[in-house]
């Protein structure tokens, strides 16, 4: 199992890096969907001991939400608002990649600073999780379109998930489902907001929403 886990983690990290580097929003959505898929698989692979029903259900739920529902929702918004690619991002893609690598280094350092009390399923787990989180934050910060920011938020969530799924055993079902539900509603509401923004402003450029200041 451990090999699987590691490879999935590596793929996750690569996906995040790819996201930093890609300009086509549709591509970004696909990457995030792919990450959701990987996340679902991860929930299965990290389970040691007898495969029970619970992780299976959770995995399906995750894949259904992060792998299918969200991308579909965002794709619809994308279709309504005729934007194809992220024109002039605040940080150019090469620099983004550079910062991405820096973030990777930082997350490695942080994971050194935080020795796990118990041996983790995979040594890569903490750094990848942190890196994905940082990548998500960076996307939110550096991309102009509101849609891309939602994607960033999703990546951030994914990173946190990697962490949770990998390290936290025995979280009660109720809490996990509540968390999932919240994330779902959050993205849903954001989608609606995006829809309204698109209708009201005829654009979804977050950096042009700057009337309210001081």
């Amino acid at each position: 199992m451990n090999l699987w886990t590691d490879s999935i983690l590596v793929l996750l990290a690569l996906a995040s890096l790819l996201l930093l580097g890609s300009s086509r929003i549709a591509g970004c959505i696909r990457i995030v969907a792919f990450q959701g898929l990987l996340l679902g698989l991860l929930t299965l692979t990290v389970q040691h001991g007898t495969p029970s029903l619970r992780p299976l259900a959770l995995a399906t739920a995750i894949i259904a939400l992060k792998g299918v529902a969200f991308p579909w929702l965002l794709a619809r918004v994308l279709r309504d608002a005729e934007v194809r690619r992220e024109v002039d991002p605040l940080v150019s893609y090469t620099v983004s990649l550079l910062i991405g690598t820096l973030a990777l280094a930082l997350s490695l350092w942080l994971s050194q600073r935080l020795p796990l009390p118990t041996k983790p399923v995979a040594s890569l787990l903490v750094p990848v999780a942190l890196f994905t989180i940082l990548a998500g934050l960076f996307v939110i910060i550096s991309r102009g379109k509101a849609l891309t920011q939602v994607l960033g938020y999703l990546v951030l969530e994914n990173g946190i998930y990697v962490f949770g799924v990998g390290l936290v055993q025995g979280t009660p079902m109720l809490v996990e489902l509540g968390v999932l539900l919240d994330v779902f509603v959050a993205v849903f509401v954001m989608g609606i907001a995006l829809f309204h923004i698109n209708r009201a402003f005829d654009h979804i450029d977050a950096d042009r929403l700057a009337v309210l200041r001081d």
Binding site: D207, A210, R213, D214
Partner: protein, 662 residues
Amino acid sequence: MLLVLLAVLLLLASGCAALLTQRSFRASAGCAVGAAVLAAVLGVIPSLRVLCGAAPQSLHLPWSVPYGAFFVEVDALSAFFLVPIFILSGLAAVYGAEYLGSYRETRSLGPAWFFFNLLVASMVLVVIARNAVLFLVAWEVMALASFFLVTFEDEKESVRDAGWVYLVATHLGTAFLLVLFIVLGSTGGSLDFDQFRVAPSQTGLLFVLALVGFGAKAGFMPLHVWLPEAHPAAPSHVSAVMSGVMIKTGIYGLVRMLTFLATPAAPPPAWWGWMLCAVGLTSGIFGVVFALAQHDLKRLLAYHSVENIGIIALGLGVGVLGLSTGMPTLAALGFAGGLLHVLNHALFKGLLFLGAGAVGHAAGTREIDHLGGLLQRMPWTGLTFLIGAVAISGLPPLNGFVSELLIYLGAFHGLTSAAAATAVPVLCVVAGLALIGGLAAACFTKAFGIVFLGEPRSDHAAQAHEPGLAMRLPMLLLAASCVLIGLLSPLAVGALAPVLANVTGLSPDVVRTHVAQAGGVLSFVTAGGVGLVGLIAALAGVRSWLLSGRRVTTTLTWDCGYAQPTTRMQYSASSFAHPLTELFSVLLQTRRRGVAPAGLFPHAASLATETPDVCSERLYGPVFTTIGRGLGRLRWLQHGRVHFYVLYIALTLLVLLIWKLG
């Protein structure tokens, strides 16, 4: 004790009643004024009993707020401040009943009465409170109530600005008091006054805190900036109360703190005395010099409040010097003079503000240069204003002279029998008092002479008329009390004995002996005063006997051959004060605007001068603008771009993680 509390309750209740009945002018004014007068009667009785030697009474009830307790006490010091508070506010209320009548058409006066009674009640509480929280609450309520009274005519821009300055000043002052009381209470563990324990290392800091915090209310230079703004803005009966007794609560606080900080056991360091003398000199001289340069009668009076607060501070300074050098005579005389001046200033400054209000009420303007000849039109107001003017100039035989004499005596005593180190400050006190006295006389000859004498300088002034009885009676009573205290000064000083024992911490019989000595001196003064009055009467008799049956003609003023003297040719207030304002022009920074007469046959020429307060112009104004500009530079932080907002979050997180875990 209970009577005083009853008075407070009565004031509060009547205030609310006035608010509820504000539909009818009569009803609200009626219950407010009635309650104020009744409360005055109720409150003065126990205060006088304490002053006459009755034991101080106190009341300690639990109060469910943090560190709070309803702990009140009427001791000699409190009683001494209670008397003027009750008397002056009672009289001012009567005066206000008629004075506010002119606004009855334009607005409802319920709030005015509510806040007036609230102000009086809070002043009483401030003076009797013995718990820091209670004191601070009363102190701030006092500030707020007076603020709303100051902004009574808030439709005027100037009034709003005055209110702004006043509120800022008093609030910043209170900040110092918060620290002061907390530090006082930290050692003893309780904020009750009788639990205060002062660590010797802290006394200096505490003294400075008290000087600043209470000085802001009392109007010490350079914390006085709110005074010349707020007093003219407020209705006159309010200005009388504010200037007469409210700013004295600052003095009360300072003296009360001295009872904790300076005892014969632990005498205060000499620099406290030096500091008080320095503050007194600055306030006194600056105050009177700025008063000289004013055109607005009430503004002039406000600056005189600064001056008189300075005189009081001089007295306290001499007293503190006496304590620090262990010279009881010096201490007794200094404190006696300062405290007696508190009472006197309450009387004559209240009187003068009421008079100024009557003038503004009758002539429709407070511009001194537009007035004149009012004595013929308002004889009673004129007479009382003259008495007040003589009293505030510290001239015998009225009460102002008595308190200044005591301070002089203390200073001279220190001068004759102290080491040179002590002699220097008291020497400055002597010189300063002399200069202040001379300038004050100059200023009030100007005020009275230009406003009430000569010919009217405007139609308003020509149509002025005597106010009704409700406004005249308080002025007459105050004038009478000025004369009485002047002539019966030994009694007044005798009543000070318990207060002095309370303040200086000297043993009562030591104090009594010194008070007796002072009383001896004052009996001579009284004799002189009586002799003076008698002589005046006799000479007046002689004069009329000489003139009886002789030819007494009335003509024009001798006009040096001009064909048509007009009232515009009279000497104006500005020109009267000009030589002195020229002398102090460095200080005053007077602005001149106008057209000088030019050519062989000059036509229209004009001159307008204004003397803004140098502190607010040169000190506070720049400071505030700089702070404002500096802060404005930081506003880009909230620029409206959501990316950067998230960036803030990320950076905060990273910084914390790296800082705390790195």
